[in-house]
Symmetry: C2
Subunit: 189 residues, 2 copies
C-alpha cells in the first residue's frame, strides 16, 4: 500500500469480524513497531498479546470502571452511552508496554517521556501496517493504568502505553475531520 | 512510496544539505502529522517552524547545556564527543508542542500521557512522509524542556514533544539493528 494512502486512509476501528489475526500478521505488525526510532535505539517496548476471552473480559471490566468514574465526576453524557464492547469483540488485543528508564540520557528531565514517545511512534507504525494488511485497530487508553496493571501482570517498573484492539473491520469507520496544524514562525510568542 | 519501504527505510538523519524545505513540503508534512489518531480527536499538537540562524543557535545552546550536565554527572564518555551541530545545520527545525489537557477523558489518570502519545504518533507520520519526499529528519529530545521553553516562547500550560530537524540528507545514515519485540501471551507474569 502507498504510504499516503495508509496515513490518510487509516481509521480507528471499533467493530470487528471474528476472524483471528494470524501469527504471521502479528509478526509483521511487531516488525513495523520495532522500526520506530527510539532514544539511543533503546527500543523500550514490549507487548502482551491477548486472545483469551476471560482475559478480555477482565480488561473490559477495568475500562467500564473508568467510564463509571468519569460519569460520577460529571463527565459528558455521551460517556453513559459509550460501550467498550470492542475490548471483548476484537480477536486480538495488544497491550503495549514500555520501560520508562529506556528513554535516552535525559535522566534529570524527560527520560520517561522519551520512552513513551518512542513507543507511541511504534504504535503508529503498527496501526499503519495493520491498515495495509486489511486489518483495523483502535488505540485504547480510557482506563486507569494502576487498575489495568494487575490484570496484565505489568510489574511496577514498567508502564502501559495503551491497548491496541485489532481485527478485520466489520464495517467502514467514519473519517474524523482534521484541523490544519497551527504553525508559529521562529517562536510561539 | 510504499508503506513498508517508508517504515523500514526511514533513518535518523543528522547530516543535512543546505537546501531549504519548501512551504509545500512543510504543508504536506503537517498534513501527515494531523492524520494521527488522538483521544477524542482533540488533535493536541502545534508546531514552531524555525529557520532563523540566531534562533537555531539559541536552541543548540540549550542542547549543549544538557550534554554538559550529563557529562558532569558521570554520563557515558561518547557524550563528550557527541555534537548537536545538526540543530544549526538543518534548514528547518520543527519544535513539536502539545497541550497536555487534550489527552482524552482520563483526567484522573493518563490524560497528559494521551496527549504526548498522540503527538508522537503524529511525529512518526511526519517522519515517514519526510522520507517519502526525499527528506530526512531526527527527532531530538536530549535537552531540558524547562530550559528550552523560554527560547521557543512555549507557555507554561503547553509541553514540548521534541525538536524535529529536517532537510535533505547529506549522506546515507546507518541502519540501527532492531531486536525482535518481546511478546508475552495473555499476561506478563
Amino acid at each position: 500500500m502507498d504510504l499516503w494512502e495508509a496515513i490518510s486512509g487509516r481509521r480507528s476501528v471499533r467493530d470487528f469480524l471474528p476472524d483471528p489475526v494470524s501469527e504471521d500478521e502479528l509478526r509483521h505488525l511487531l516488525e513495523a513497531l520495532a522500526w520506530a526510532p527510539s532514544p539511543l535505539n533503546q527500543q523500550p517496548w514490549s507487548v502482551v498479546a491477548i486472545t483469551d476471552p476471560a482475559q478480555k473480559k477482565a480488561i473490559r471490566q477495568v475500562a467500564e470502571e473508568a467510564r463509571a468514574l468519569v460519569l460520577s465526576l460529571g463527565g459528558p453524557s455521551w460517556v453513559g452511552k459509550y460501550s467498550p464492547a470492542f475490548l471483548e469483540q476484537a480477536p486480538l488485543l495488544l497491550a503495549v508496554i514500555y520501560d520508562p528508564a529506556k528513554g535516552g540520557l535525559g535522566i534529570n528531565f524527560n527520560q520517561p517521556h522519551g520512552a513513551l514517545a518512542a513507543t507511541a511512534a511504534g504504535v503508529q507504525n503498527l496501526l499503519l501496517a495493520a491498515h495495509a494488511l486489511g486489518l483495523g485497530g483502535v488505540w485504547f487508553t480510557f482506563f486507569d493504568p494502576a487498575r489495568m496493571r494487575p490484570v496484565l501482570g505489568v510489574p511496577e517498573w514498567l508502564e502501559l502505553a495503551g491497548i491496541v484492539c485489532l481485527g478485520r473491520p466489520a464495517k467502514p469507520s467514519p473519517v474524523l475531520p482534521r484541523k490544519p496544524v497551527t504553525v508559529h514562525r521562529q517562536r510561539m510568542a
